[in-house]
């Protein structure tokens, strides 16, 4: 992932200085960031204003395609059960929801979706290994007190896990913070610093760093760029993507690794 701008070499010692202040790797350069902002600005100029709202639950149609008929899914933070209903009706999936909001729980029950009014940590502690085909965590990772504990739990209880989150390295976030000097408030991160539920935000690159460390393999990944879904893979996605969704699984011995991480 490390890819640095050539111009860094023009300023002697600047790279070392950046390392000293905590910048340990460069996923992209400043030109790229400005180019992205400029492109978006030009594209949006005809509309008169910049709007970049993610389609409501953009992950759901993709998940409904990934899940095969008859497979089992646990949706952690299932809300009012929208994804569950879709999976049951479209894919004949066997589903289990988990949700802490009580009104949402009642809505799930009305729709006939089995739901546990319980926190994720407790549920993940009681579900046995590999009980589900998929564990889903939509737009919740960044709100968790212990995100890694939940990711590990998901990888344990399901063969594959689907995780989506807002990309904190999106160019709008970068500009809002570096030029505005304030905590960024964007369409993907609509909260003020004092009322945000997001306590563990990460960028796509941060997530990939964890993937590399955690003995995890990415099966498939998608990003949302200017409201449109793309398959993940472009080098500048950590700048251009507002949101990301990864399908991950534990690496097995067959992958040529020494074994599972303890």
């Amino acid at each position: 992932m490390i890819k640095k701008r050539q111009s860094l070499d023009i300023l002697p010692g600047f790279e070392d200085f950046l390392r000293q202040i905590g910048v340990s790797s460069f996923d992209s350069d400043f030109d790229e960031l400005l180019k992205q902002a400029q492109n978006t600005m030009q594209a949006q100029q005809s509309k008169g204003s910049y709007e970049n709202h993610a389609p409501h639950r953009w992950e759901d149609p993709i998940i409904a395609k990934i899940v095969q008929p008859g497979e089992t899914v646990i949706d952690l933070g299932c809300g009012d059960g929208e994804l569950l209903v879709r999976l049951v009706y479209e894919r004949n999936a066997r589903v289990q929801g988990v949700e802490t909001n009580e009104d949402a729980v009642v809505r799930c029950i009305e729709r006939g979706m089995p739901v546990c009014h319980e926190d994720l940590y407790h549920i993940l502690s009681v579900v046995p290994d590999q009980s589900f085909s998929y564990a889903v965590l939509e737009q919740t990772l960044q709100t968790l007190q212990e995100p890694l504990q939940v990711l590990d739990g998901m990888l344990r209880v399901a063969k594959r896990s689907i995780v989506s989150f807002p990309n904190f390295a999106h160019w709008s976030v970068r500009l809002a913070f570096s030029l505005g000097g304030r905590m960024p408030v964007t369409s993907a991160l609509p909260h003020e610093w004092y009322n945000t539920p997001n306590i563990h935000l990460c960028s796509i690159t941060d997530f990939l760093d964890w993937v590399n460390k955690a003995n995890v393999r990415i099966c498939q990944a998608w990003v949302l760029v200017e409201g449109k879904v793309e398959e993940f893979g472009q080098p500048n996605h950590n700048i251009s993507a507002e949101q990301a969704m990864f399908v991950i699984e534990r690496k097995t011995d067959a992958d040529g690794h020494a074994g599972k991480k303890p």
């Binding site: 008859g70 089992t72 049951v88 009706y89 004949n92 999936a93 066997r94 589903v95 289990q96 802490t100 909001n101 009580e102 009104d103 729980v105 009642v106 799930c108 029950i109 009305e110 729709r111 006939g112 979706m113 089995p114 739901v115 546990c116 009014h117 319980e118 407790h122 549920i123 009681v126 579900v127 046995p128 009980s131 709100t143 539920p197």
Partner: protein, 437 residues
């Protein structure tokens, strides 16, 4: 992650409208009962009785003993549909009866007079257009074996002696109750229940139904209950029974003869203690605090002075007018003995729950210390470990164990949602397990 809590503004905090002289003034006003001619009431009801076992075909109890005759008192509301697919069995709790809703037409000043003053025990929830909608469902409730409301129990006549059984009545279990209810359903022509639903001891029956007759139940609702009574509850029951059995009038359970006084003081003490376990500490503080009902005399003394004393006295005294001490012994024992894990899984609840094929909804109440939420959770966990889809809701409430009755609006909302929801999950669960039996 915003947390919305269920509004806990129940209309009823005092279960009786009995205007007895010593009625505590602390009782809050409850909403008016639905009158028998109300469109929301099942109206006037009549208890029904059926003989389910006789000398020729006695009923075999879990203890191995044979019971004959065995009569069951039950009530039904609504209409059974042509394909008999809309039946809901409601299972009652310790001191409950088959009179779930409506007004008992058979009650009189000499026969069950307390039923003249109030409708059935779950009238808030059961009736036309209510959460358990009798326009849609055929609702059945049977009085349990060992009780004193029409079903055979210790106060019934022992055919061997021609006198009431007393303590010669055999020990009965939750399993016996469920098999008796199954017999009743056979007689009513109901092969499969759309749902079974109960709270507390009734919740244990609902659970036992899903375990003992997995293919006869589509939906199972367990409120404020669990697969076993925790040690604390065993302890409370022991104290209650001790009070009854050491009452000077107990006479080894033979107190039914004319001229013999029943062990009322013991039963009052048992009921007072039990009532504390149905509330929560915080709920009692809110309701009574240290408020004084009767002024302290200057010297002080031991008459009921605090509002809470007066309330418990009142609950105890009104209870003995309607309940039999021996029945209290038998039913609390059945509650003690029930252990789903031991019955169906050799002590392993996960193994036991592998039998369940019903869609299950478990509801616990945050301040319930008789069947605390942790107890419900062991059941939910056991289902999850069997990969059985399950619905679980923890309702925030200060009303303790009683919340399952008091929080009628909240509970009603959950019941309505669960009962009317499509049974997709069930169908898919069957597919996942490789077809229906």
């Amino acid at each position: 992650m915003e947390k919305t809590t269920f509004s806990s503004t129940p209309k009823r905090t005092e279960k009786s409208s009995n205007a007895a002289a010593n009625k505590p003034t602390t009782s809050a006003k409850r909403k008016a009962y639905d009158a028998p001619d109300s469109l929301r009431s099942v109206g006037m009801t009549r208890p029904k009785q059926l003989v389910l076992a006789d000398e020729k075909h006695p009923f075999r109890l879990d203890s191995g003993k044979l019971l004959a005759p065995m009569t069951v008192e039950y009530e039904t509301y609504g209409e059974l549909n042509p394909d008999h697919s809309n039946a809901i069995l409601i299972t009652h709790a310790l001191s409950g009866d088959a009179h779930v809703a409506g007004w008992d037409a058979a009650a009189s000043s000499s026969f069950r007079p307390w039923r003249q003053k109030r409708p059935g025990w779950w009238d808030d929830v059961v009736g036309p257009t209510k959460a358990i909608d009798t326009n849609r469902f055929f609702v059945i409730c049977a009085n349990v074996l060992g009780s004193c409301y029409g079903t055979t129990g210790p106060s019934s006549s022992n055919p061997a002696t021609g006198r009431p059984y007393g303590l010669d009545f055999p020990i009965v279990t939750v399993g016996d109750w469920v098999r008796m209810e199954a017999l009743l359903l056979d007689k009513l022509g109901i092969c499969q229940l759309y749902a079974v639903c109960g709270g507390s001891l009734g919740g244990q029956q609902a659970l036992e139904w899903a375990l003992a007759f997995p293919d006869r139940v589509l939906k199972c609702i367990v409120l404020a209950s669990g697969p076993k009574l925790p040690a604390q509850g065993l302890g409370f029951n022991a104290v209650g029974r001790h009070a009854i059995m050491h009452d000077g009038n107990f006479n080894n359970g033979n107190y039914y003869d004319k001229g013999h006084k029943p062990p009322h003081e013991g039963l009052i003490a048992a009921r007072m203690l039990a009532h504390i376990t149905y509330l929560s500490g915080q709920g009692m503080d809110t309701k009574f605090g240290r408020r004084v009902q009767n002024e302290h005399t200057e010297q002080g003394g031991f008459n009921a002075e605090f509002a809470v004393e007066s309330y418990l006295n009142y609950q105890g005294r009104s209870f003995v007018e309607r309940f039999d001490a021996n029945s209290y012994l038998y039913i609390t024992r059945a509650m003690d003995y029930y252990d789903a894990a031991a019955l169906w899984g050799d002590g392993d609840l996960v193994k036991a729950c592998s039998r369940i094929r019903a869609e299950v909804m478990v509801v616990s109440f945050s301040s319930d210390w008789l069947y605390p939420p942790e107890e419900s959770k062991t059941f939910v966990s056991a289902l999850m470990q069997n990969r059985i889809p399950v619905t679980y809701v923890k309702v925030e409430s200060n009303y303790g164990h009683d919340a399952f009755l008091v929080e009628a609006d909240k509970v009603g909302q959950l019941l309505r949602a669960f009962l009317l929801s499509p049974t997709i999950a069930r169908r898919l669960a069957d597919q996942g397990k490789g077809g229906t039996p």
